[in-house]
Subunit: 415 residues, 4 copies
């Protein structure tokens, strides 16, 4: 699609990704319900035929009519996250890459980059689980509830449920008509997905800032500025971060709409569709652009290492070392705190203090302390399930990867 | 507890329930975390002993110390909904009681009171399912994550998890430290519970209003007015309705707090406890007072029946009758609409129009129409799973009751 | 516009109002910003010409070009509430009409219908004030802030501000670029408007329910049901009530988006437009349909009076009467409470108890009590600013009406 | 107050500020309403005396009783932001200090530190204005509304209003009883204050991170870690950032509580106090700790300058230079973008490219370009109201300072 050149395009070496362009534009849902309606009407008509409420001829006529309507509607299809496998490869390639782990945005302890990214795998796996449970719970056939009390015609609800792929029938007609749990629960799940993506987004923005420089984002996920010729802005993560607010808003809207409504249907409920559809589209597109962006993220090991070396990141390791030598933790903590103040005074990292200086803070410090104070020594020591040691990270990736095929199979089945 | 008499007490025949008095006062959570802390510390100490990181003697000393601290804390225990069985009995006794089913607060079709209450059973069963799934998902041991990167000591996380009754260990130390999904997911589940209770609350307030008069609330769930001597106010349902807003607020607070935070821990997270504890307490106490109130609710069949007879509630039945006689639905609908206008002009309910008058709207109307237009005929016709026919309602109660023991067993196990 | 007849139209005596039809469909904002952009560009170009940064010829060429673009855009205009005066007339015609005042949806004391509606006048006047203050505060020219630091060209910001009708210039370029207070404050004001309209909506739904029957809504503000031929549903108030949730959602979205953003501009802010525009459109259309609906609302005095007579509405008047006769308030309250219990036992309203019976509750009750116990006596007694006495209500309407022209003048000026 | 030493205290050179310690603990409001109640009761009693509804003796007795109750309550007083003047001094001392202005957290253009802080002055001035308007609007006497319809006693509402310092009387008794606008509007204002503080908090956390190092926070506003001996965490800004979520939650709770309530009072409204009080306390304490923290913030000019020199911050100045030499903006932008790519290739800042190299991108570049490319040249060029030039910043501080005394006077009057 030959587009008019953007003012800032000379700064960039590749074009903006079409998915990114689409992401920044709004999505329309006008036709989606129509197609589901047709599918439901077909199953309904066939059941009425089987129950002899409609003649075979009526059913055939209805089938022909609906097929024609369907053809007249042009469908628009989305594909979920292009290639999850890529993301796992990206994480694995980096299992031994060391970066500073932060708390309070102050250097805390060294961690591996793979370990850091696996934290998001854990979050997204919980999201997947929640959405799968939500789907199973809400996937009940409401047909037969009629206006609110059920229908006087002798219909076969289970048959329609089976034909349309529902997991069962709604057990109460008043509930079926007035319930909007499905919309609220979905938006709550979607809000949690967005919380997670917004945290990753915040980190990507920080890491891409020149002050950190931990990663380079692919040009096609960035935009420039029409005023400032030097800019390369991490628009995609920022927009995902902003869109989390939008999904929270949809959740709040639905809660407020449903609160305090008497049974059964009230017109208030017409307001349920826009927030629900908007939340679904936002989560889908946000996951989509991030799947591509993370797979092509370029880490900058030198910058990560430099940052890990400037905040006395192995101070805890020194304290643990002293504890293992029999020093009570409180005393060990205090000795290391004094060593850190000395290092700050000298303008060096704790690990760079000369041995004699270090030893002055505790006679228990021996020559073997140097291995303890390296970044590699620190991460290797955390060697248990959930720890940041490279061996553990590799095992965690293997476990996560083994869970993927099952998830995919379930997804395929539920389509 | 002999209390000072309220100004309005002469209007009432029983005293306010102590649980209600407690419900209106705020709850304190000061001691709750302490007890869980002690339990966790004990398991941790024992594991460190088993791993030979602490000596047997140290472990014994720690156990003694913690036991003493525990005794010093006075525990405050809550009991979940006193007797769920009562509620089911209440629903069953009324399976044949007919009331008007409303949509848009206009009379729609007659339904049975039991069928109406079963709609809330369906909502609360979804709530139970959600909370059970939430618990299973979040019930992971974080211990071992240490500051954020894992610990350098050779600990046995699975052992501690088993001893404390966790369903597993948190798989990633950074996630374990920074995740607050457990708080957000719980508050989302709690918000849905409150949506459901607030809808029941709205209906109770309406039904207790003199204009409806469908139910009488037990005096002990009401309060009077210090100005107006005649008042008996449905305070409890109104307060529950109001408290739904409070739980939504907690959910929003947590979403906003977590949004866009870089890993791992930041002090923002200290703000997680108050909304979480407050939501838990609010849901617990709201369920508690409603369990008692619903069990003792007194329906007023005469008022329900009178209301069901004033809104042409069986108009749909007449349309369906004509359809079964071969009249196209559109024509049947229009004929009945004209009959309704005639009934309004005459100041009577549709069912009260003389046969000759009725027949003037469609020659297909025969003498058998009278059975169709009664409330009993209307509800009996809706005889399928989820329908309002008394037979169906009884079966639905039986199914709901059979699910109770399993739920109780799971609850008991999870305590 | 000859539309296909709705299935339910035979039940109705007038067609659905076109404004109502529009209200239920979604609104598009695609062209709105474009027109404001053009206006801004014109003023900017003229200023640059006056500062000799552009030649006179350039300015003329730009003016021609923009005028052509403008013509190519078709404008869509909204009109604020058609005729506020009508609403005041509606309130006045009813200043002496008595209805039950409720608290807790239990009959409290009689009030006049005009007094009740004036409560909403008070709420909407606060809304008007808030929106006017918001406009004055946010109506600052941001131009000149450029990317974030200001511009290096010697521009005249005050001139542009004057020409475009701004109340001043933004005082800080970083703030001008990153501030979204205008969107948040507007959505907060809009949320309050919707809180007020949703309360009126709730009352209209109640009042239009057959159980109350206090008002008749014009047919053109209602819809029927495609299943139930007898239905006339108060769709418009219900939809307004539901739309309040939508506006709250927009407010929450904006707060979450802006929270914790570093200065100056971040792409998150692109998410500001949809919630803002949506909130503005929702408030505008909701006010519009209510202005028409309230003006044509038909009160049913007989139903209001019957309801006011059934809840011992003048019990407080009796207590006050005893107080004026020297009975301590606590004793008066208790005596009346006992009288109310007696009336309930007898199945009559307090006012219908025979004099001898009444007197048995307090010897201070004299023959003059009858005037006290009438609805007219009760409302007439509340004769102070803010009270429900007809004389006070008429004065309050006069004061509200006198404030209207000023408000209109300010509105006209600010357009 | 000699406290037990914190585990991490050896790392710090000053103790944690007592206000900070208080800030992290929760606040109790138990006694606040009581004092206002007493004040109101006194005025009420005196008015009743003046209207001869109470005897002079009764009034005196009531006065004595209330005075005794008041003495029994110990008052807890807060002081608003200790010394606003300090903050302005802090901003002025730095008007010439240059730092990088960011958009998208990428270096955009140089700005002065004073200019940056003035953006927050602009935000907080809007907050002040909003709160002042809110107070004036809600400061209406509700007394006299009684239960909902007004009172039958001949009271003088204006007199009580004057005596208690209200700006007027509530105009409608139903509105006075049921309105909670004051709580919602205050929480909306409070939410905006917290949005602003949370943005400043985010910047302080970034600036205090070793990767930025732009500022040093006073030790007394930080805490350490009980695990990691080297940590100095910016707890106060993080907690303020987190507390913004809490205030949003209160706003949402109140909106949801009030939505759809029929007039007049319902028990739902009892839920109004906790969110309102909590929001007030949160805003007050957050402003308080920030006032102290900002006044003692230590900027690190060297780090700011280094950061401003690494992102081609003067690229826009070069483009503007070319435009002034007659190059169309689009061509100028493209030439500079190419120069930036060359500088990146060479690993230097744009300003460090040799003249010959620079000139190769446009023949219009002359020797005078060097002054344009310096940080000082860039900020000095933005010399208009709202621009970042030191002269403008000094004038803006003077204007802000001149507005302070008026604000203080109004505050004092309103107490």
């Amino acid at each position: 699609m030959p587009k008019k050149k953007q003012l800032w395009s000379s700064r960039f070496s590749e074009a903006v990704d079409p998915a990114v362009r689409k992401f920044t534009s709004s999505l329309s849902f006008d036709k989606r319900l129509a197609l589901y309606d047709i599918q439901g009407s077909l199953a309904h008509a066939r059941m009425l035929g089987a129950c002899a409420i409609l003649t075979r001829r009526d059913v055939a006529a209805i089938e022909r009519g609906l097929a024609r309507v369907r053809r007249e509607i042009e469908t628009g299809r989305f594909e979920w996250s292009p290639d999850d496998e890529d993301v796992h490869v990206a994480i694995e390639r980096h299992a031994t890459l060391i970066m500073p782990g932060y708390t309070h945005l102050q250097v805390a302890q060294p961690v591996t980059f793979g370990h850091h990214l696996l934290a998001y795998v854990a979050m997204l796996e919980r999201d997947y689980e929640r959405l799968a449970e939500c789907r199973r719970r809400v996937n009940r056939l409401p047909l037969g509830a009629a206006a609110l009390a059920g229908t006087g015609f002798a219909i076969d609800r289970e048959r329609v449920a089976r034909e349309l792929g529902f997991d069962g029938v709604a057990e109460n007609s008043l509930d079926a008509v007035s319930d909007r749990d499905f919309a609220i629960e979905f938006c709550a799940c979607a809000s949690l997905v967005m919380v997670h993506l917004s945290r990753l987004a915040e980190e990507l923005v920080l890491w891409a800032s020149p002050r950190f420089g931990f990663v380079r984002l692919p040009d096609r996920y960035c935009t420039g500025s029409s005023i400032m010729p030097q800019k390369k802005n991490p628009d995609v993560p920022e927009l995902v971060r902003g869109k989390s607010g939008r999904v929270f808003g949809s959740l709040v809207a639905l809660l407020a709409i449903m609160k305090g409504q008497p049974l059964a249907y009230n017109k208030d409920n017409q307001e349920d569709k826009e927030p629900l559809f908007d939340a679904a589209a936002t989560v889908k597109s946000s996951l989509g652009v991030f799947a591509g962006l993370i797979a092509d993220l370029v880490p900058v090991p030198r910058a990560m290492r430099a940052a890990a070396l400037e905040g006395h990141a192995t101070a805890t390791d020194l304290a643990d070392y002293l504890v293992r030598k029999g020093v009570p933790f409180r005393d060990a903590h205090e000795a290391v705190a004094r060593a850190v103040r000395e290092a700050e005074r000298a303008g060096v990292d704790l690990a760079q203090l000369p041995f004699s200086k270090l030893r002055s803070f505790s006679p228990k410090i021996g020559r073997d302390v140097k291995g303890i104070l390296t970044l590699e020594g620190s991460v290797a020591a955390r060697n248990h399930i959930g720890g940041t040691a490279p061996a553990q990270v590799r095992q965690a990736i293997a476990r996560a990867r083994s869970r993927l095929p099952r998830a995919r199979k379930r997804l395929a089945k539920s389509k």
